[in-house]
């Protein structure tokens, strides 16, 4: 049934690509960041437009400025949700998220996945997101395959204008995703998801 060029490691990488929120302090070599971006840019984009750009922030001072702009809102939101959360697994996720936000300035790399040539005077088009978010996912899975931990995060949404200014982005460049990346201080492990039978429909809803 399967093709001879079947590649066995791929789904294993995906299913153990749990969000990593605690990192060892060692820096990530630039060559590995380049390898992750290489993998990201193997993703498709609408008409192969490749309207993407990546900013890899390693400088302590820049990470601290971004953390100062975004982490307080993230932490406030997490605390609000925590106050009413009774599920143990959800509490653990939220507490880990809060620890990550608390230490955002210390994470090894903040990799911003951006869309270029974006008209910011109109609502963002579906094609803009389709053009860059697949690349973000390739980055996560490729990082996992290289032993690097990641979290796909939304810190930029707490102060898009501020983070864009810190990064020096031109006005037509949109941050689509923040990827936190580094050597994991905790094991990779299986992600926790609903079963396929809950989410897959045949031929119609």
């Amino acid at each position: 049934m399967l093709e001879p060029d079947m590649i066995p490691g791929v789904i294993s990488a995906m299913e153990t690509c749990r969000a990593i929120r605690r990192f060892r302090p060692e820096p990530v070599p630039n060559e590995l960041i380049e390898r992750v971006v290489y993998a990201a840019t193997r993703a498709p984009s609408v008409s192969n437009g490749q309207n993407w750009a990546f900013v890899a922030v390693r400088e302590r001072a820049t990470k601290a400025r971004i953390a100062a702009l975004t982490a307080p809102t993230a932490i406030r939101n997490i605390r609000q949700i925590l106050a009413t959360t009774t599920s143990d697994s959800k509490r653990r996720l939220l507490e880990a998220s809060q620890r990550l936000a608390d230490s955002l300035a210390e994470v090894p790399v903040l990799l911003f996945v951006c869309a270029t040539g974006v008209d910011r005077s109109a609502p963002i088009d579906a094609r803009t997101w389709l053009g860059v978010l697949p690349a973000a996912q390739n980055a996560l899975v490729a990082a996992r395959s290289l032993g690097l931990g990641t979290t796909l995060a939304t810190y930029h949404l707490h102060d898009e204008a501020g983070v864009s200014e810190v990064l020096g982005l031109p006005p037509n460049v949109l941050i689509a995703a923040t990827i936190v990346m580094g050597w994991p201080a905790v094991p990779f492990g299986p992600v926790s998801r609903r079963p396929v039978s809950d989410v897959l429909r045949w031929d119609r809803w």
Copy 2:
């Protein structure tokens, strides 16, 4: 430098995950579609919300209805761009896209990646796209690893209301991506992309 649990096949799968637009007529077994959706749902989503659903269309009549709604616009758009395209590689891509649109009713599977719980009375939030498009990319790469060819497509955008009606989607379900999938009639091959040095910036723009 690399971790012991490095997984070697992953980046190979990504770099040979060229869009496949010609398919052999054999159907794709349901178990493999389920495997692809399993891999898709290993992707992260905002706060692990998993607000996603997948509709796998295999029925000839349903594919024909979707093709009738969307392919004519796709073909008209392609012809308009073709009329002014001088680059040979871009012509080949457009001609392949036109062939695919012409035969959309005959492709083995149309897999619609949807976001659930979406407020359609407001512009779609960035978090909605972040919640489902990573899953779409996992589907493409997992399919590649299983020997299945895919194209990430935007047919649904040509008539969202019409396709949603054919699929019977509830009003708060948004189609985020159309994935065309089947056994490839052409070889997998390297994707063509700009070099990393063109798209990666260090610390700031």
